[in-house]
């Protein structure tokens, strides 16, 4: 039973270590060190994109880290009435009870709701919306379900969730679709022989460009398709844990319990140089002065930049690895 409360002595030990010169943390990291992050994409074969992420697991048996599974499933949705065209995004975070054995089911639901709201509000924002989620204008579109499952929590859950979400969305492939139109059969009227009837001529005065497509078909296999438009826009988050005037990254559970407030900053990088702030949240009870906050946001920018750069490199590696693996398997079959 891992309880999240810690004693006053532990708290002051951790705080004194963070404020010492040089700063010391429980596992010997410096203030701005991250634990190693393991990442794998394409872990759920039935999804359109998936990723598994672990922060700080033991390199030998993988125990004792924050473990997250993320998967994207696309679903066809009929657009009713004046609903938004071009698809929707719905995020959902579920926490496994084994990851939070000290929480009651009610508290667990609250936590799930909190995490879901942060993620959903950030990722479903119109500025991040991919343009290729529509199928037939005003009739059909894709509903992108992003589900994240927390199987273990060893701290720094927000950063991990956003990283996993970004990896899964990066991996997502939207199936190609082709619209299908129904036209009234011409054979019926032409069967009547030489009767001279005007038929099926479109008026030259009709300038309306009405889409007649009513349905669609999938030209490819299900697992093929094109990547989500604008996938480099998906944001990255960094949590700055604040103790007095210093901040540190990637807190463990005990460290989280011993700092009064945390600042979550989410950045999106459409171009590599100018990030846009997608979301800011101050978690905890402490107050923060505006100049200090400005400084922290500026610092956060450099962290998310480094994070996005290395995550993108890793995702491209993953892509390469999977392609190679698929080729090998194909070669073996012959």
């Amino acid at each position: 039973m891992a309880s999240s409360s810690i004693s006053k002595a532990e708290k002051s030990y951790i705080q004194a270590g963070l404020l010492a010169n040089p700063p010391r943390r429980a596992d010997g990291r410096s203030l701005h060190d991250f634990r190693a992050i393991s990442l794998e994409t394409g872990v759920a074969p039935l999804s359109n994109g998936s990723a598994r992420l672990r922060i700080g697991g033991n390199p030998h048996d993988g125990s004792g880290g924050t473990d997250i599974l993320a998967a994207v499933k696309l679903e066809v949705e009929s657009i009713q009435g004046d609903a938004l065209d071009g698809g929707r995004i719905a995020c959902n975070v579920s926490c496994s009870p084994s990851a939070y054995s000290h929480l009651s089911s009610g508290a667990l639901e609250d936590l799930q709701y909190d995490l879901t709201m942060v993620l959903h509000q950030t990722l479903s924002h119109p500025s991040l919306h991919p343009k290729n989620l529509g199928i037939i204008p005003r009739k059909k579109s894709w509903l992108l379900n992003l589900d994240l499952l927390i199987t273990a929590d060893a701290g720094n859950i927000y950063d991990a969730l956003f990283l996993a979400a970004r990896a899964a969305l990066w991996d997502t492939k939207v199936p190609r679709t082709r619209s299908v139109e129904y036209k009234s059969p011409k054979t019926l009227s032409s069967a009547s022989g030489d009767m001279d009837i005007d038929q099926d001529t479109t008026s030259g005065f009709d300038t309306r460009n009405v889409a007649h497509a009513t349905d669609f078909e999938l030209p490819d296999y299900w697992d093929e398709g094109e990547i989500l438009e604008g996938r480099e826009r998906w944001p990255a988050a960094i949590t700055l844990n604040l103790v007095n005037t210093v901040h540190f990254l990637d807190a463990t559970l005990h460290e989280e319990a011993s700092c009064a407030s945390r600042l979550l900053v989410v950045h999106s990088y459409e171009s590599p140089t100018s990030p846009t702030v997608q979301s800011i949240r101050l978690l905890g009870s402490d107050e923060l002065s505006i100049p200090h906050l400005k400084n922290l946001i500026k610092e956060a920018e450099s962290y998310t930049k480094a994070m996005v750069t290395s995550l993108t490199a890793k995702l491209e590696d993953e892509n390469f690895r999977r392609n190679q693996k698929a080729r090998e398997r194909f070669g073996k079959r012959k």
């Binding site: 039973m1 010391r24 030998h60 290395s310």
Partner: protein
């Protein structure tokens, strides 16, 4: 700053490598029914007929068959079949030294998380009260229980007895037991802490260890024998204090180092003893790299290889 790695790919033959060769994985034979036979089982495996044998811990009966409900070793005593699980919570025994954390303050007792199936109980009557070791508890003590232990506090205690429902009752009526400070906690599977002559270990690097048999290990700054509080007279201020001493940089480093070493050894399922910890500490001093690097990459594997070679 951000290091992305891949998940370690498990070789297909890894599992069979770790299993001793004399364990027969064949489902059909019932060798374990012979004395001394070893058999690994997993949840849902049918062990034997329920008509001939009785079900014990870790098994259940379905369709006239005894079926394992946990993964572990099958044991048989006469007609009783039990499965001893590979990974379990701590099974307390009277006299065990445990490290626990207070979860609740109740009338005349504390609830303590001891990594066991149920929370342990620490009665007000089984702690040392200020002003004399042998003193009856008063009503005023009941009212200020939080001044002794409050929620979240860590303590070291001994298992005193069991209640009817199997809950363990703890006591701290010794000067070496009580509240913990000046350090940090590390958790390992309880099975890796053997019963030793002493569970209070002082490493020469200025670090004290308390190996709780429940898998909670307290790593703290070394306190000299003669400076230990309450040696002559019991000093409640010092014993129930939440204040840490000043801890210098090298001690902090040593505490982190020992913590990381314990994590590595635990992940390789190596039982913790003072000699192994000392060997590991010596190895880590020679290891080029920082304390944090111990938890990265292959450092742990190299350490374990050295330890096992010394074996």
């Amino acid at each position: 700053m951000f290091e992305f790695t891949s998940f370690r790919q498990h070789a297909d033959n890894q599992f069979s490598q770790n299993v001793p060769e004399d364990i027969d994985m064949n489902e059909d034979d019932e060798d374990f029914l012979e004395t001394g036979g070893l058999k690994l089982t997993w949840p849902g495996e049918s062990l034997t007929s329920a008509q001939d044998y009785m079900r014990g811990h870790g098994t259940y009966v379905d369709n006239e068959e005894v079926i394992a409900s946990v993964c572990g070793l099958v044991e048989r005593v006469n007609k009783l079949i039990t499965v001893r699980a590979v990974r379990t919570r701590y099974n307390p025994e009277v006299g065990d030294l445990v490290v626990g954390r207070i979860t609740e303050v109740q009338p005349r007792r504390w609830k303590v998380d001891g990594n066991s199936r149920q929370d342990a109980v620490l009665m007000l009557s089984s702690v040392n009260l200020p002003g004399g070791v042998q003193r009856r508890k008063l009503e005023s003590d009941e009212l200020q229980m939080r001044s002794f232990f409050e929620e979240g506090d860590l303590l070291v205690a001994e298992v005193q007895a069991f209640f009817g429902d199997g809950t363990m009752s703890l006591h701290t009526r010794s000067l070496s037991y009580g509240k913990l400070r000046n350090g940090q906690l590390v958790t390992v599977p309880p099975i890796l802490v053997r019963r030793l002559k002493s569970h209070f270990i002082s490493l020469p690097c200025g670090v004290d260890l308390i190996l709780g048999l429940n898998g909670y290990i307290w790593v703290s700054k070394h306190v000299k024998e003669n400076e230990r509080e309450g040696e002559e007279a019991f000093d409640a201020e010092a014993v129930y204090s939440n204040q840490n001493d000043d801890i210098d940089d090298s001690t902090r480093m040593a505490i982190s180092r020992v913590t990381n070493l314990i994590t590595i050894l635990a992940s390789h399922s190596i039982p913790l003893t003072d000699t192994i910890l000392l060997d590991a500490y010596d190895w880590s001093l020679e290891y080029e790299g920082d304390v944090k690097d111990l938890l990265q990459g292959d450092a742990g594997d190299a350490l374990v290889a050295t330890i096992l070679a010394k074996g």
